[in-house]
Symmetry: C2
Subunit: 211 residues, 2 copies
DNA sequence: ATAAGTACTGTACCAGCGGTGCACTTCTCA
DNA sequence: TGAGAAGTGCACCGCTGGTACAGTACTTAT
């Protein structure tokens, strides 16, 4: 883990983003006030506008940071699993298990996904933020799609299985799982859904190897 | 179809709810202003507060109506499919196909789910609205779970398949599929995800019947 | 025809919010 | 020690949600 040394300004900016992320995931962007953020961060309104041009600028920074972090997490997961096996199917299944374990180890229910949150509030954002949101999902989807293609080269998928849809399903399961886990307040829901998806991948590619 | 005759007041109320639903799904509840609703509905602020005690009351009405409507849609889907076959597995698969077809026939991308939208903004609502949201998801999940149990009685599920998780997966796929379809602006995404889920159900219960 | 609701309108008002502008100060680090 | 980074303080604007309440037009049962 590289612990970046932050300048004072960067630290304040990060603190504001942390507070904003938490608030946005709980109340939505529109209901999150600059007033409450600066009160919690302990600075003045002028201080806030020193760091962000306006609220839209905050949204953009929030989204960029979130997407970047998550790409890194997924990368890391698959890099680690690739170190354990050369088989693309096994590697993918191990990566999903790592992912599920990580989700299961969270102290509380998953805090939520900024991309999903913004998706349901996109008309209050500028065009570039909506594009950024799409790019985030597309990057995620591409990481999975490329791996499923590798798997499909070696193991012919069973009838009815479409690789593209299977790749998108992973993202859908995570986003949907977060919503279920939050709405029902069931902490283990998300990890279980990821494991259910993992089982589908197994069934989709393993010819008839029954344990 | 029972076309209810609405009194003038009820009609206005419905008009406000229609406008609010559309706006909330696009901008979020917090960013939806009463001002814009009354402007579009062609009445005054006093008129709005005649129908709804406050904004929270509007949220509650919105949610109740949405959940009610969707329960009816799912019911209808499975009732129609049950008329075509006695086999619970075939019935469920036909129901899912109906559902996917219905989604594919929508003129635009799916407008979004109020429950999911509220889930990402729940801290601005009162306790009872959050509970209502959970009840909505639970009702949906229960409708599917009971059917999967029926299926599992007749067809033993394959190794690794958990009935509860499979039931929740249906909801997760739909909620996640809506997010993908909106974020990527891909109209056919949601229906494809439902069909992918349907395929998983097939694989999960059909022993080794390969077409 | 009339009376009792129902479904509003009009007006006045308040606090909180996002946002702007600008002069000023303090802190940090090379 | 000096320059730029990281703020503070204050004054101000328009919009929004929300409250309060008096008045009015439309509808419908008797």
């Amino acid at each position: 883990m590289d612990v970046k040394v932050l300048s004072k300004g960067e630290a304040t900016r990060e603190r504001l983003l942390d507070l904003a992320e938490k608030a946005v995931l709980q109340k939505g962007f529109g209901a999150t006030t600059i007033e409450e953020l600066i009160a919690a961060a302990g600075l003045t309104k002028s201080g806030f506008f020193y760091h962000f041009r306006d609220k839209n600028d905050l949204a953009q920074a929030l989204l960029r940071r979130y997407i970047q972090r998550h790409n890194d997490i997924i990368d890391d997961m698959f890099v680690r699993s690739a170190e354990l096996t050369d088989d693309p199917l096994q590697g993918f299944l191990i990566g999903l298990k790592f992912f599920a374990d990580m989700l299961a180890d969270l102290p509380n229910t998953h805090p939520g996904c900024i991309v999903a949150s913004f998706c349901y509030q996109d008309q209050q954002f500028s065009r570039d933020i909506r594009d950024l949101n799409g790019d985030g999902i597309r990057a995620w989807r591409a990481q999975i799609h490329v791996r499923l293609e590798e798997i499909a080269k070696r193991y012919p998928p069973r009838a009815g299985v479409e690789i593209e849809a299977l790749a998108d399903m992973c993202t859908a399961i995570v986003e949907g799982g977060i919503i279920l886990s939050r709405t029902l307040d069931e902490k283990q829901m998300l990890a279980r859904q990821v494991m259910a998806y993992r089982n589908y991948v197994k069934l989709a590619f393993e010819a008839r190897v029954e344990a």
